[in-house]
Structures are given as C-alpha cells and as structure tokens.
C-alpha cells in the first residue's frame, strides 16, 4: 500500500510538481515544474528526499490532507498557517504525521505558493520525463489536473531511513517574501528601449495584474517604449521579461510559451525566480539590475542554504 495522504479539501489549485521537463521545450511543451524551486527543494531535503522528488504546489490556499499511513512531511514556501490536528506547526520543518492525523491550513499570511513534501516523494503519472502537472495538456501528476476532494496520494518510493522529524531550515536562511525586489540582467533587446524606458525598467514599480498564472505575469506600470524591426521568433526561458507592443511587460514563469517574437528586455536571474513565484495579483515589484557575478553569488547563497538543511542538526 503506497497510499499516504487522502485529500479532504483540495485548496484553490494544488498540483503535483517536480523540477519539470526541460527537454520538452524543443517540442513547444513548457518546461513546467515547481514555480519556487528553492522552496520545493528545501521541502524535499527536510524529509530526506532528493531535490527532484515531486511535491504538492498549493496556490493561494492549502489543501486539507489526512495521513493514510505514518509519514514525514514538510511545508515550505508561502505561509498558509499550517496546522496538524488543529495545532499550529512550523513551516520549513520536518513534521511527523501519524495515521489519521490531519494537515490543514488556516489561511494565507505571506506568499502565493506553499509546497508539501512527503518522505519517499509524491507519485503520479510521468509525462515526457517529469511528474509535473501540465493543466493545458492534461498530462503529468495526478491525471494531469489539480487535486480534488477524495483523491488519494501515493508515495513514489521508500522513505530515506532513518526518517527524522524536526529537521529545520534556520530562520535566517528562509526566504523573505516581503521584499519584492526581483533581480535581473539586461536582455537581448534591452537596447531597443529608449533611454527613459531603460531607466524606468530598473527604477519604476510594477504591479502584478490579475492576468497572471503559472505561464507568466502581465505587469502594469509605466509604458516602456521600444523601437526596431519586427523580430524573428526565438526560444524563450523562464524569467524572460517580454515587451509586447502595448509597452506593458510580461514576466515568463514555469509554464511559459517556449518561443516568441516580442523583444526580451531583461531576464530575471535564477536566484530571484523563487521570489517572483511568491507574488500575487496586486503585489508590487521592482526589478533590480545585477551583474552575472552577483547572480552567481545569489545562486551560491541558495545552494548553501539547501546544503545546510541536509546537514541540519536534529533536535
């Protein structure tokens, strides 16, 4: 019996995600995977999994889950105020659930996406090399769809032994989802921006509009002006900041279109994508320009934070 969690309430949109299917982009299929890779990887490490194991990505609200067998779970990312059997539990910590224990979420306090990892990893349908759910193609994860009440989640493999609860990411290493500064490097078509727009891109405040999902965020802010001939379509990447004719940028996220012909004026660095992943419609953000060297240091800081979880002392 691999049944590990029964879904009492699914939450607004809870999907199975792993590190995605980067090889599928040459077929036009979005790479997908967890929007906040840092929180996803941390959740896995806290329960002794490899980083590539699948987790549940819970958007805006959390599910109610009942343990079908004793298991070790960890909740990271957005703070939706997790509870076990009605008592608050800490995020970014390995938590042991006995058979019949109920994991619930009282409400959103910060961030947009929480991750739930289970020791052994979450099982599901593999599509093009990944368990990640792609809602448009209705493939991967749990029948290619979001969780529903009554679903039963299986574990993919044996939990790492010994299962250790209480492993914790130190508070100072947990990301700060309050600061909405998103770091980026000037992109292929940065020079198509007029001088004033170049300044505004890295200076002005932008608002995440309601037209925002796992594919990307439409941003509202000062109109940015570009010039130049129409571009031939080219391959895109998560974090690309596209600028369509209307002058309002689009930030591409995990389920982004794989090619396009709008100018890409900047690219969000990998260490800042987790921050972007935690933004909600209505949130304000600023882009801050960084050098490749600074991007490398930011990446290393996240890697070493994850390493510290692997080595974390257990109370």
């Amino acid at each position: 019996m691999n049944h590990v969690l029964r879904v009492e309430e699914p939450g607004l949109s809870t999907t199975v995600q792993d590190l995605g299917r980067p090889n599928a982009i040459s077929s036009g299929v979005p790479p997908g995977g967890a929007m906040d890779r840092f929180a996803h990887c941390a959740a896995n490490l806290l329960v002794g999994n490899g980083q590539a194991a699948a987790t549940l990505e819970c958007t805006l609200s959390g599910p109610h889950l009942v343990a079908e067998q004793p298991c070790l779970v960890a909740i990271t990312g957005a703070d939706f105020d997790p509870h076990v059997n009605g008592k608050p539990v800490s995020g970014w910590t390995g938590v042991f659930l006995g058979r019949g224990d109920r994991l619930t979420f009282a409400g959103r306090r910060a961030g947009a996406r929480a991750y739930v990892a289970v020791a052994g990893g979450i099982d599901g349908a593999v599509w093009l090399g990944s368990l990640s759910t792609n809602l448009m193609a209705a493939r991967g994860g749990l029948d290619g769809r979001a969780l529903r009440a009554g679903d039963v989640i299986d574990i993919a493999g044996e939990p790492a032994k010994p299962t250790i609860s209480g492993r914790r990411m130190p508070e100072h290493l947990q990301p700060n989802y309050i600061d909405h500064t998103v770091h980026a490097i000037g992109g292929p078509h940065f020079r198509r921006l007029d001088p004033e727009s170049r300044r505004l891109l890295f200076d002005a405040e932008f608002t995440v509009t309601k037209d925002s999902d796992r594919m990307g965020y439409r941003l509202d802010g000062p109109r940015l002006e570009t010039s130049g001939d129409e571009l031939l379509s080219f391959g895109l990447a998560a974090g690309a900041i596209q600028l369509p004719g209307g002058g309002q940028p689009i930030l591409l996220m995990a389920d982004h279109q794989t090619a396009g012909g709008y100018p890409v004026v900047a690219g969000v660095v990998s260490a800042s994508l987790p921050i972007a992943a935690q933004l909600l419609p209505g949130d304000k953000l600023r882009f801050a320009e960084v050098t490749p060297e600074r991007a490398r240091l930011m990446r290393m800081a996240l890697t070493s934070a994850l390493d510290s979880v692997r080595r974390a002392p257990v109370r």
């Binding site: 599928a24 292929p188 080219f234 974090g239």
Partner: protein, 218 residues
C-alpha cells in the same frame, strides 16, 4: 576545419543567468535556419548544456551555470559557429490534406486582389520548411510563404482559433495545434493532429522537416 569565409555575425546575449541567446542573423533565411539547427544539435551534446533550441536564425542555450560561465560558453559557441556545419539531413516530408474553406479565405483574396482559388493554388504549391517548433505544444512556424500571399497579421486577433486551422501571416504559414487565441488569417483546416501528447517527442513536426499541403474537398 577551415572557418567559413562568410563567418556569421554571431551575437551572444544573456537570458538571465542560466540561458543565453546566440543570434546568427536577423533574416528569414533557410541557410541561417539550417545553421541554427546544426548548432543546436552540436551544443546539446555538451555536458554543461541542458538544452539548446533553434529559432529562425538563433539558438537559445540553457546551461548549467555551475559548470561553465556565460562568457566561456559564448566563446565556445563562437568557435563552433565558425566551423562548417555538417551536411544537413533532408528533413522528413509531411503531406498534409487541407480543406480550404477558412473564414478568412475570401478576405485574404480581396486584400491580395486574387480569387480564392488562386490563393489556394499558391498556398499549396511550395514545399515549406519547418523553421521552428515552439510557442505552444506542437506549433511549427512554416515558410517561406510566397510573396504573393504576404499580409500583415489581423488587427484584432481572434480570442479562439479552432485546432487544425491552417493560417498565414507575413512570409509564414502554420497550423494551430490547439484551440488558442491567434492573429493569423485562417484559410483552411486539416484533420491531421500536430500535438501528440502520448508520443515522445509529442509533436508531428520537427525543425528542419518539410511540409506539403494539398487541397481536399470538405
């Protein structure tokens, strides 16, 4: 191998810190696209490259930033791009039946001053090249479309284009693989499925393939 005499004007641009765009040129050109596909194929074999995707005249390279810096990868790409590409394999030829009864067929004819039958004849005459697969699953940019059919995109895109619609815009033609919004002119439809979610790769066309449309009755 000696470098090509016409060493391309290769430009490398960062796309964040884990990808870059290598631009071979800015023209819609079969030779440039052949080079882009060849370069992507070679780059995919490198350990530090996660994925390389050819565009019309460019390659987008996703790399492991802990294994190589962007500068070093850019320099390697410049060396590779200077080499003579291997003879391209002739792409597979797909014959696609089309019922030319699209909602824009008459309007396209009027805009171009051509009877609808002539639009059909011109569209189904060439063997098109798959320049690029991407945008949405299964979408392929085909071309070049004969100049006689060149039109800008519709001013107001449709909010929903049915899957299987055969469309034209600029010097390009294509088939909508999924119901999506779209701004191209719809001149026909086909029952051939382009997005094959349960196959790997999950799409019918690959970059470098050739496509011939032939008219069928509804």
């Amino acid at each position: 191998m000696p470098p090509l005499r016409s060493t391309p004007r290769l430009r490398i641009h960062p796309l964040g810190d884990t990808a870059l765009l290598a631009e071979l040129g800015t023209r819609l050109d079969t030779a440039l696209n052949t080079r882009a596909i060849a370069l992507a194929t070679v780059l995919k074999k490198r350990r530090e490259v996660r994925q390389a995707v050819a565009g019309y005249a460019s390659v987008t390279v996703h790399f492991e930033p802990d294994l190589i810096t962007q500068e070093a990868l850019g320099a390697a790409i410049k060396r590779l791009a200077g080499k003579r590409p291997p003879m391209p394999e002739p792409g597979r030829l797909h014959r696609i039946p089309v019922t030319y009864d699209g909602p824009d067929l008459e309007a396209v004819g009027s805009a171009l001053n051509l009877p609808a039958e002539k639009v059909v004849e011109i569209h189904s005459r060439p063997i098109y090249r798959v320049f690029l697969v991407g945008f949405v699953p299964g979408w392929a940019y085909l071309g070049p479309l004969p100049e006689e059919l060149e039109l800008p995109r519709r001013h107001v895109p449709r909010t929903l284009v049915p899957a299987g619609s055969v469309a034209i815009a600029g010097r390009q033609t294509g088939i909508y693989p999924l119901p999506t919004p779209g701004g191209w002119h719809l001149i026909g439809r086909t029952s051939v499925k382009l997005f094959l979610p349960d196959s790997d790769p999950p799409c019918l066309f690959r970059a470098g393939d050739r496509v011939k449309f032939f008219p069928t009755k509804a």
